[in-house]
Amino acid sequence: MAVKIFIATDRLDSVLEKLSTKIDLWIPALLKDDKSGPTGFVPYEPGKAVAFDRQTTMSLKKVLLPQVETLLRFEYRKEPEGAINSTLAVEDRREARPTLVFGARPCDVRALTTLDRVFSNGPYVDPYYTERRKNTLFATLVCRQTDAKCFCSSVGGGPADMEGSHLRIVRTDDGYIVEALTKEAQSLLDNLGDAPDASREKQAAEIVEEVSRRRVGDLDTEGSAEAFRKRFEQTDYWVQMVSQCLSCGVCTYVCPTCYCFSITDEAENLKGERLRSWDSCMFYHYTLEASGHNPRPTKLERYRNRVGHKFSYIPERYEGLLGCCGCGRCIRSCPVSIDIRQVVGHLKENTNE
């Protein structure tokens, strides 16, 4: 079994093609014919332009938690005699196939620890997520493209953090060194390439060592959970911090740790599907109650909830785990340049004001 292989840059596509015969393969790719345009994870197709040069616009969460998925199909069947009587047929077949995400980033993989706590680690186990999670492997890039909006080291991660990854990818001058980190990942590398020579191996080791030393971001989250509670009712603070918010769903949809969903029955006549789709706490309808009352009527309460959920409720419920992986996507994609680091960073300042 191969433990470590070298893939020359120009051979990447042919290696991915071979890999895609062994396992369902997802790669980060351009979503538009523009080198600096939006990117996201897509199922591999030969010749598809891989976007390894930067973090993707959309995170990889949709591999495990699709934006929309059918939970079950239903059909009311009328009895031939007596049209009043009908039986309900329900089908909830699901299938999780062995999958590899090639070219994940450490922040995205770390984000799954939050999703795991919610969907897999009880008390309620979500079979849809959990089965996909068990069947999915991650080949993660040692990240050398951090920018001013990244802050993974501030929230427990790091640009070379391989926790939760099955393979490590190091980009060298002329290609990639892919190393299996777990036993189950080794067979994937069989017949894909030769072991790297000594000089490339040395270069890769130096890169890993150098990137491991990097500290990305300087947000201090210590004490944020308590500070948030003190701030909760200080409307002035939220007015000052997030008046510019448009209450759109960009931050939550690009976020790798936001997992809130909605369930709707989409039926035509007697047949239909129960769908689970991404929801966003930035939306008015998210907390709209059947009575018509809405406990979060304005964007201030809604944004406050987003900050509270990530930096106070989740840490309190899950032994200090943060609901943020520091990928910086919400900052990068916000139409009005809201910086969550500022909102969280200021929580602790003069809380008694």
Binding site: L31, G249, V250, Y253, T298, P335, V336, Q342
Partner: protein, 324 residues
């Protein structure tokens, strides 16, 4: 020149603030290429106000989508707001439709020489770390990843700016800076992107919109950034009672949503381009509205947001109409 304008703006706001409920303007953000809207009640913050080509956001929408639900007392002081040419047209449209009354706003008009599209900057300098960005004459000077780039401003302006006919505010109480020269004076220039697409065979156009709209993630940033999308929390894209759209993310849902958005703006869209600017997936959604704007101009001779006393054509009825 920008610095002079900034100082003038600060001075004008300082004088006006005691008579204002608050001042809405732009300030620097963590991204050197983009500002962030700021709401000022405290005179100490006035010095943070900025203007110039990074001030891309249209602030008019905040007048109808306020930060917090509060009932406005009858004797409330006016709200001060900075508007570029295109933003002022949104303001006019909102006044026409009686969402705001003219005397509730104190308008600080900013003649605009075009706003910068960060995506076009990224195409030139890569998505590397932009440390600083300044404007020197007709150039954008960027310090990114240790390299200094000097880019012609014209090359990185937003698409809507290239065909702009109204860089100067349509209405204002005070003007900040020198009057700007329009980039376009003809329908041909303003609607050249629409024409370019219209000249393609219908199959190609369909394929274009299918591939563009397929990227939509239904985040509704385009809708929420639109100053004229005033249904807000009652938008039919999301209501379940009645249910018009499913929660699916297939092309039919995306098409339907974007065309509902566009149709609801027919004769109302002022072409500020916010919907396109805010799209995280870089979909040219303003183009759909531009097509409708062009039809409005050609058929009815109407261009939205130019006359506070005018009536948008779809909000009225003319029994003797000959054009449609």
């Amino acid at each position: 020149m920008l610095e002079t304008d900034r100082i003038q703006l600060h001075k004008l706001v300082e004088e006006a603030l005691p008579e204002l409920d608050m001042m809405i303007g732009w300030t620097e953000s963590c991204d050197p290429l983009q500002t962030t809207p700021v709401f000022i009640r405290d005179a100490k913050l006035i010095s943070k106000l900025t203007l110039g080509p990074f001030c891309s956001q249209n602030l008019a929408g905040y007048l109808v989508k306020p930060p917090a639900l509060e009932s406005v007392p009858k004797d409330a002081k006016p709200i001060g707001i900075c508007v570029k040419g295109c933003d002022s047209r949104s303001l006019v449209a909102l006044i026409q439709e009686k969402f705001i009354s003219r005397d509730r706003v104190r308008i600080f008009g900013i003649p605009c020489r075009g706003t910068i599209d960060w995506r076009k900057v990224a195409q030139r300098v890569g998505l590397s770390d932009v440390k600083s960005a300044t404007v020197e004459d007709d150039f954008l000077v960027i310090d990114a990843s240790g390299t200094t780039h000097r880019i012609g401003l014209e090359d990185v302006l937003a698409r809507k700016c290239l065909g702009c006919r109204y860089p100067n505010p349509i209405i204002q109480d005070v003007l900040v800076g020198q009057v700007a020269t329009p980039r376009s004076s003809s329908l041909e220039t303003t609607y050249r992107d629409v024409d370019a697409l219209d000249n393609k065979p219908i199959e190609e156009r369909l394929a274009f919109w299918q591939s563009e709209l397929d990227r939509c993630i239904r985040c509704y940033a385009c809708r929420n950034a639109c100053p004229l999308c005033v249904c807000q929390d009652k938008c039919i894209a999301e209501t379940r009672e009645p249910r018009w759209l499913t929660q699916r993310v297939g092309l039919p849902e995306k098409f339907l949503f974007h065309f509902i958005h566009a149709m609801h703006l027919a004769g109302r869209c002022t072409g500020c381009g916010e919907c396109e600017r805010v799209c995280p997936m870089d979909i040219p959604v303003t183009l759909i509205k531009e097509k409708l704007n062009k039809i409005m101009e050609e058929m009815l001779g109407y261009s939205a947001g130019l006359d506070p006393d005018g009536v948008p054509p779809l909000l009225t009825f003319n029994p003797g109409e000959t054009e449609i």
